[in-house]
């Protein structure tokens, strides 16, 4: 019964939405969106942990974008010969050197400046975290939406597949995928591996939300006046699911960054002469016996960077979850 009305309704609706794109109501909607965003921001600003997370993240974002400029400023302050890049060989290849006035964190076994590598390392870590999350969010939302909307045996099939990815330990799956997928250890492959591994919980959340929205009165009403599947998903389901997915995706970025550093650490991450990540630096620290050779900062600093980036995303994610999840707000 629904199927028959569906295509007809969708067509009618598409014509309507095309027209509305160019007319007054759009501006009105944009105004509403702006108002909603401002309200969210007003609530978010009061959340101390959330704001702390946001400040941490802005700090790391500045570090990633202006890495070269930061190194230049530091080189002026420290009176160094030049603003060392992450791939400039400043010492001879060997065991690494202790911190000095020229190299504040010391150098690693390839003779690279560790401070420079730490600062530039934020780039790949953030990039992988963001893009891998986009991949898994897209995959998870699609599966969750379709599963919840279709119902029946299609839902059953999709959920059983989701279960497999939910149950299997993420690291085990990533290791096996990284090992058998063709292609070298590139950034793209690592993003793909993390994305394929991490979508299942999103699919579950989206599906649950779709199931509950599907039964609400306003959806019934929309259907009664002839709205089609696409219209209902776009206008009623999506706006209600989006905030939860958004909060969830911020938490997923944290997990993706942890995944990248773990993969890099066990030598299954991106590896080439022109890629530096915090995980790679820690792996180098193991290869170079940094701990035994008293080169503690080589181990401590990249690790702390990972901890704080992950904390930043976690704080912001929890704060958003509290805002968008009314069940949590009353506490």
């Amino acid at each position: 019964m629904i199927e028959i009305g569906a295509t007809e309704g969708a067509n009618r609706h598409n014509r309507h939405s095309l027209a509305s794109l160019l007319s007054g109501p759009t501006r009105e909607k944009l105004g509403l969106l702006k108002k909603k965003t401002m309200m969210t921001w007003a609530v978010f600003r009061k959340n101390k942990l959330g704001m702390a997370g946001l400040i941490i993240l802005i700090g790391f974002l500045v570090m990633a974008v202006f890495a070269a400029q930061i190194m230049w400023i530091l080189s002026v302050i420290g009176g160094w010969d030049s603003a060392y890049g992450p791939f400039d060989r400043v010492e001879r290849v060997g065991l690494g050197t202790k911190p000095s006035s020229e190299h504040w964190l010391g150098t690693d076994l390839n003779g690279y400046d560790l401070l420079s590598r730490t600062i530039y390392g934020s780039r790949v870590s953030l990039l992988v975290g963001l893009v891998a999350t986009a991949v898994s969010m897209g995959l998870g939302s699609a599966v969750g939406l379709l599963s919840g909307y279709w119902g029946g045996w299609k839902d059953e099939v999709l959920m059983r597949i989701t279960d497999v990815f939910l149950v299997l330990p993420w690291l085990v799956l990533m290791i096996v995928l990284a090992a058998v997928l063709p292609g070298g250890p590139t950034v793209g492959k690592v993003i793909l591996v993390i994305g394929i591994t991490g979508w299942s919980s999103t699919a579950r959340i989206v599906r649950a939300q779709v199931l509950s929205i599907k039964e609400r009165a306003f959806v019934e009403r929309a259907r009664a006046i002839g709205a089609g599947d696409i219209h209902i998903v776009r206008k009623h389901v999506f706006p209600n699911v989006f905030p939860l997915v958004f909060a969830n995706s911020i938490l997923t970025i944290a997990l993706s960054i942890l995944s990248e550093s773990t993969l890099s650490f066990i030598r299954l991450g991106p590896r080439s002469v022109d890629v530096v990540t915090w995980g790679n630096m820690l792996e180098d620290a193991v290869t170079g016996d940094a701990i035994i050779n008293d080169l503690y900062l080589w181990v401590i600093v990249p690790g702390l960077c990972i901890v704080f980036v992950v904390l930043g995303f976690t704080f912001v994610g929890y704060a958003l979850d509290e805002i968008f999840n009314p069940k949590l707000r009353r506490r």
Binding site: V172, V180, V310
Partner: protein, 327 residues
């Protein structure tokens, strides 16, 4: 009671389907990837005699059509035959993996008990003294270790307890050259080697349990039956012990089911850094050595173990929740 039975049957069936899908994925990963599956199924080492390689191709039917290979594979899976390890030939991959499974079970078992018990009490106390120093402190503690890469915490422990203050071993699971026996010395040695790996694994996962227990208990405390219990004149500790905590336990058990996957992931990292001879350590080495039969066997065994553990947690949840049993 009828509904409870139906829920149980459904859970068991779902686990079985998940297991079947894992078996199919295991086949697809190693035989259907671009390139010649012979690369995955037959060692490429030039020192290995050509006849042996041909024998393996024959045995796995690698030149047969895919569906016939699949049938051969299914038969092999149900007889737990994943072929011989490429590196330690003559040793069946499954035997090799099972050898290491024992240590992973010891490590994850010990840590799981610690993290559940300590996390639970932390959460209960934090919820009870909500807004206190302990509450804020334990929340910060939980989030900080939650954000920490497991392998990095392990490295920090090596730095602290093996270099700066050398008190614990950071290598292997037993003193060099010994095997585990049932006598006091051997068991004490095992525990001594277990301290750092188990503490690392516990610390990174304790936060999730503390936070969920706290949240769940705070939720329960707003329920009307708690007010009723208080109105009856029960003491605070009676309310907590007999009315609040038992009802707040359900989300904890659900979390155990979800967390198993993360605990195993953490165990992999801990084993790798501490050279602890568990299944994670063996798996990562198998990847480095391109020892595909061992990798397949490990993937299969881990999946089976995790699915069973999940099912048990689910069953416990059904057993504990009267709404499901009677409803």
């Amino acid at each position: 009671m009828k509904r409870g039975t139906r829920v149980l049957a459904r859970k068991v069936l779902n686990s079985f389907i998940t297991l079947l899908l894992v078996i199919v994925i295991n086949f697809m990963l190693f035989r259907m990837m671009p390139g010649d599956p012979v690369n995955f199924m037959v060692p490429q080492d030039p020192r290995i005699p050509h006849e042996y390689k041909l024998e393996l191709i024959e045995e796995y039917g690698l030149r047969d059509p895919l569906h016939e290979q699949f049938i051969t594979y299914i038969f092999d899976v149900f007889t737990l035959d994943f072929g011989d390890s490429f590196i330690q030939r003559q040793t069946p991959a499954m035997d090799y993996v099972l050898e290491y499974l024992k240590w992973t079970l010891i490590l994850t078992g010990t840590s799981s008990i610690l993290m559940i018990v300590i996390g639970m009490f932390m959460g209960i106390y934090a919820a009870w003294k909500r807004g206190s120093m302990f509450d804020t402190g334990s929340m910060a503690f939980s989030l900080f270790f939650y954000a920490m890469p497991t392998f990095w915490l392990a490295m920090m422990f090596i730095l602290l307890f093996a270099i700066m203050w050398p008190v614990f071993p950071t290598d292997s699971a037993l003193a060099y050259g010994t095997t585990l026996e049932f006598n006091l010395d051997s068991i004490l040695d095992m525990l001594y080697h277990l301290v750092l790996p188990a503490v690392t694994l516990t610390l990174v996962s304790i936060g999730a349990f503390a936070l969920i227990m706290r949240g769940s208990l705070i939720d329960v405390m707003t329920e009307e039956y708690i007010t009723t219990a208080k109105a009856k004149g029960l003491t605070d500790s009676d309310v907590l012990r007999h009315h609040a905590v038992p009802n707040a336990m359900l989300p904890m058990i659900a979390l155990i089911a979800i967390d198993i996957a993360y605990i195993v992931g953490g165990a992999f990292q801990v084993e790798y850094v501490f050279n602890y001879p568990g299944i994670g350590w063996a798996t990562i080495l198998a990847v480095y050595d391109n020892d595909w039969p061992v990798l397949q066997a490990a993937f299969f065994i881990i999946a089976v173990a995790v699915i069973i553990a999940n099912l048990l947690a689910d069953l416990l949840l059904v057993y504990m929740d009267p709404r499901v049993k009677l409803g």
